[in-house]
């Protein structure tokens, strides 16, 4: 929305149509959050998009994209023990990266308060696993809130801020993909304007802030006592809402988005169960749960992903000798998988209470169409690079992919990526493979944002321990996959222009002896360089460089001088080698009914990187114009 930035700073209460991620930003402002950090990852980057709608000078807080989630967490923590209410946000798997620091947070007296926003991804819309981060709440003794809608995301953030501040603790706010991205009309409160800047409040006497040996015991005791207090003071209970449908036989305990799916499903039920909706899922609202257990004969627990709540509730029932209530948790393997959509909830309810909902008729609507997975954009430098690199490799060479747009290289027809793990893992996995490589070459792909995020230790290790493989750095100057966030090689941070940190120089500084660099569009040269690099004994790097063309074309389209170009196929020359379609596979090429190869003008950006792939030079610019 065009006036979003202004609206977010409004002094008066207002209502606006926003997604959950945007609603959070208003809550950050209203609650007086002073420092916010992040590393991009779906489903959370739109929080930063909303922040960017506020002019830099007018932002009542500091925001940065840090180099990774751990760094981001540490910055927020540093600010928070200096008295500033701070928030860090990232995607589900980001917590794995941050966890070494995150695990200690609850031990510390965080005088400003700290909020950790998680974007979990049941249903795997954009992630490499479905991990249920509620485990981390328990493991780290951190309270966790689970909003179900944008309105609740906003409300819960405000409450989380209160809790974090008053108890001087970290609080987790766990959203899932469809809570982050659902749009609704949210009601916001007033805002009194920015706080006066406080003085630096860090004082070692507020600590200890040093968790060594014997000092940890009192710190851990404090963390556990805080949790106890949250239960005893009725704070977890205050987040639990019951929906009374006068059903003394059946009750459902649920939370988050599954609650809304359930409400949707129950609109069609003539005998709805009572519902206890939890807001804080750790520590559990014991009193309300016990009461609910006592009031019903059968309780179904509807929780997406793992059986966290189920196990705690069963233990609670056992400890309280509640043997009359039947607690129905997860049953089939499928119950641990995927989003709890209205359809899934219907199935789950039908399998335990078949009289309550109508069964879902077996889905005879099988999709027969050709699937459309994400793919590299027209003009993408990664495509050009993959096309060239493939020509330099043998069929049995091992290609280790990494995370980013270049992961898409594993798709046909490129098949450039046999292994992918997580961000920054490729150099070390390649190192491991190279220990017994025989005659095979080992290649690791790497993106620029990922290089700075998590790959540097493994690259240094490759030099330190003298591993034998080639890393290909696909440098496009941006964090493309997650929406073009600037990274240290971009020449800008979120707030201002800064010096680029050239990856080549970093590698030289590490002591990499063999570094080759070429524009990814120069396919012949790139192919030759890769051939050379793989024959080198030891660690070598090929930097295949080309700016992200999606980003560049978008920027160019906004310039007055921009003229959109397209290539075309000279049908007099084309002899249907089909290398452009079958090997290079830019989405712009297809075969018309006439059998001729044609260029989809809606897609072609006229970059011309395809021209060199044609053995007979049939791909040209109209009337001889050149790039």
């Amino acid at each position: 929305m065009k006036k979003l930035g202004k609206l977010l700073l409004s002094k008066d209460p207002f209502q606006e149509i926003v997604m959950g991620n945007t609603a959070l930003v208003r809550a950050m402002i209203e609650s007086g959050t002073e420092v916010i950090t992040s590393y991009p990852g779906s489903p959370t980057p739109e929080i930063a998009s909303a922040i960017s709608s506020i002019e830099f000078e007018k932002r009542p807080f500091y925001f940065e994209f840090s180099t990774n989630e751990k760094v981001a967490t540490e910055i927020a923590y540093g600010a928070a023990i200096n008295g500033q209410l701070s928030t860090v946000f990232f995607k589900s798997v980001g917590l794995n990266v941050a966890s070494d620091t995150f695990m200690q947070l609850s031990l510390m007296n965080i005088i400003g308060g700290m909020i950790i926003i998680l974007g979990d991804d049941p249903g795997l819309h954009s992630s490499q696993n479905e991990q249920d981060n509620r485990h981390y709440a328990k493991m780290s003794y951190t309270p966790i809130l689970e909003p179900s809608s944008p309105q609740e995301a906003y409300d819960y953030y405000l409450k989380a801020a209160d809790l974090a501040r008053t108890k001087q603790i970290p609080v987790l706010l766990r959203l899932t993909t469809h809570v982050c991205h659902t749009k609704q009309k949210v009601s916001f409160s007033s805002w009194n304007g920015p706080y006066d800047k406080k003085r630096s409040l860090f004082n070692p006497e507020n600590g200890p802030y040093i968790p060594v040996t014997s000092k940890v015991i009192p710190m851990k005791t404090r963390a556990l006592k805080n949790l106890r207090a949250i239960e005893d003071e009725g704070i977890s209970d205050s987040f639990a809402e019951s929906v009374n449908n006068n059903n003394s036989k059946r009750g459902i305990i649920t939370m988050g988005m599954p609650y809304l799916s359930l409400k949707d499903v129950l609109t069609q039920s003539n005998w709805p169960p009572d519902i206890l909706k939890l807001g804080m899922t750790f520590p559990l609202p014991r009193q309300k749960i016990l009461h609910f257990l006592k009031e019903h004969e059968e309780i179904k627990i509807l929780e997406e992903l793992d059986s966290e709540i189920e196990l705690m509730i069963k233990a609670l029932a056992f400890d309280n000798a509640l043997s009359n209530v039947k607690i129905i948790g997860k049953e089939n393997v499928q119950d641990w998988i995927g989003e709890y959509t209205p359809e899934k909830i219907t199935q789950l309810l039908f399998s335990c209470w078949p009289d309550m909902v109508k069964p879902i008729l077996s889905d005879n609507r099988e999709i027969t169409l050709s699937p459309r997975p994400p793919q590299l954009c027209p003009g993408c430098g990664h495509r050009s690079a993959f096309h060239a690199i493939k020509k330099a490799l043998k069929a049995d060479d091992i290609k280790v992919g990494d995370i980013g747009c270049h992961t898409l290289g594993h798709l046909p027809p490129y098949n450039m990526g046999d292994i992918v793990m997580c961000m920054g893992a490729s150099p070390a996995i390649a190192s491991g493979l190279s220990l017994n490589k025989g005659t095979r070459n080992i290649i690791a792909f790497m993106g620029d944002s990922t290089f700075f995020h998590a790959a540097m230790p493994s690259v240094i290790n490759a030099i330190f321990n003298n591993h034998n493989f080639t890393m290909i750095l696909m440098e496009n100057g941006t964090t493309a996959m997650t929406g073009h966030q600037d990274n240290p090689s971009s020449g800008r941070n979120f707030n201002e222009t800064v010096e680029k940190i050239p990856i080549r120089k970093v590698l030289e500084g590490f002591g990499v002896e063999h570094i080759f660099e070429v524009d990814a569009y120069k396919q012949q040269e790139l192919s030759e360089l890769v051939k050379e690099a793989i024959t080198i004994e030891g660690f070598s790097v090929v930097i295949a460089k080309h700016p992200c063309m999606l980003k560049l074309t978008r920027q160019n389209k906004n310039k007055k001088s921009y003229v959109l170009k397209h290539v075309e196929i000279d049908q007099n020359i084309c002899v249907l080698h089909k290398e452009c379609i079958e090997d290079f596979a830019c989405p712009s090429f297809s075969i018309a009914e006439s059998g001729q190869i044609v260029v989809n003008q809606d897609l072609c950006i006229g970059d011309g990187s395809c021209r060199q792939t044609c053995p007979v030079s049939a791909i040209n610019y109209p009337s001889g114009e050149s790039l």
Partner: protein
């Protein structure tokens, strides 16, 4: 009422949905909506779902329960209908093809507009076509679709005026001007 919008990443399905949602809100109707973000936006199938009516809990539409499918591309039209449209529903589609990888590589069959029309006939779906042969900027195909919807009054309460008002909320200056122009030209 449930509206299932689909297209290919980069076609502007998200903007189409945002405009509709605002118009629905101006009409005073409760709604929830959700768009695809992230990975799929790189040339994959993208989807927006809008549910509106007296009281809406979730934006997620169940299979076979979309009253209207809006598609920016023919494959996505068929894909969304196969799973989501209810018999007797409405399809609004932009007549363009962006072939998926499998089709381009010759592994999967091509589809044509006729496949869409056959499906619609079989399931008693009214098909409304949107197309503007003079359109240069593909990013405005979504506005051509909106013109069909508003012009023909396909969504109760969503009038031409409300769509324009929603567009004014979201765009400015030259962009707004050209979008409004395309919208108005395609109304009849």
């Amino acid at each position: 009422m449930n509206i299932y919008i689909s297209g290919v990443g980069g076609q502007g399905a998200g903007m189409l949905s945002e405009i509709l949602v605002r118009a629905i809100d101006y009409a005073g109707i409760d709604f929830k909506a959700v768009d695809t973000h992230g990975l799929a936006q790189r040339g994959g199938t993208v989807v927006s779902q809008i549910r509106f009516g007296e009281k809406v809990y979730t934006p997620l539409i169940r299979s076979g329960e979309a009253h209207m499918c809006i598609a920016l591309e023919l494959h996505e039209a068929l894909r969304s209908m196969e799973k989501f449209i209810c018999d007797g529903g409405i399809l609004v589609y932009y007549d363009t093809i962006w072939e998926p990888l499998g089709v381009r590589l010759g592994n999967d069959e091509k589809i044509k507009e006729q496949n869409i029309l056959d499906f619609c006939q079989k399931h008693k779906i009214s098909a409304v076509k949107a197309f503007d042969k003079n359109l240069v900027d593909t990013r405005m195909q979504n506005v051509v679709i909106l013109a069909q919807i508003a012009g023909k009054g396909l969504i109760e309460g969503v009038t031409i005026e409300l769509i324009e008002k929603a567009m004014e909320d979201l765009m400015d200056g030259k962009l707004l001007e050209t979008n409004l122009k395309v919208f108005r030209e395609n109304l009849s």
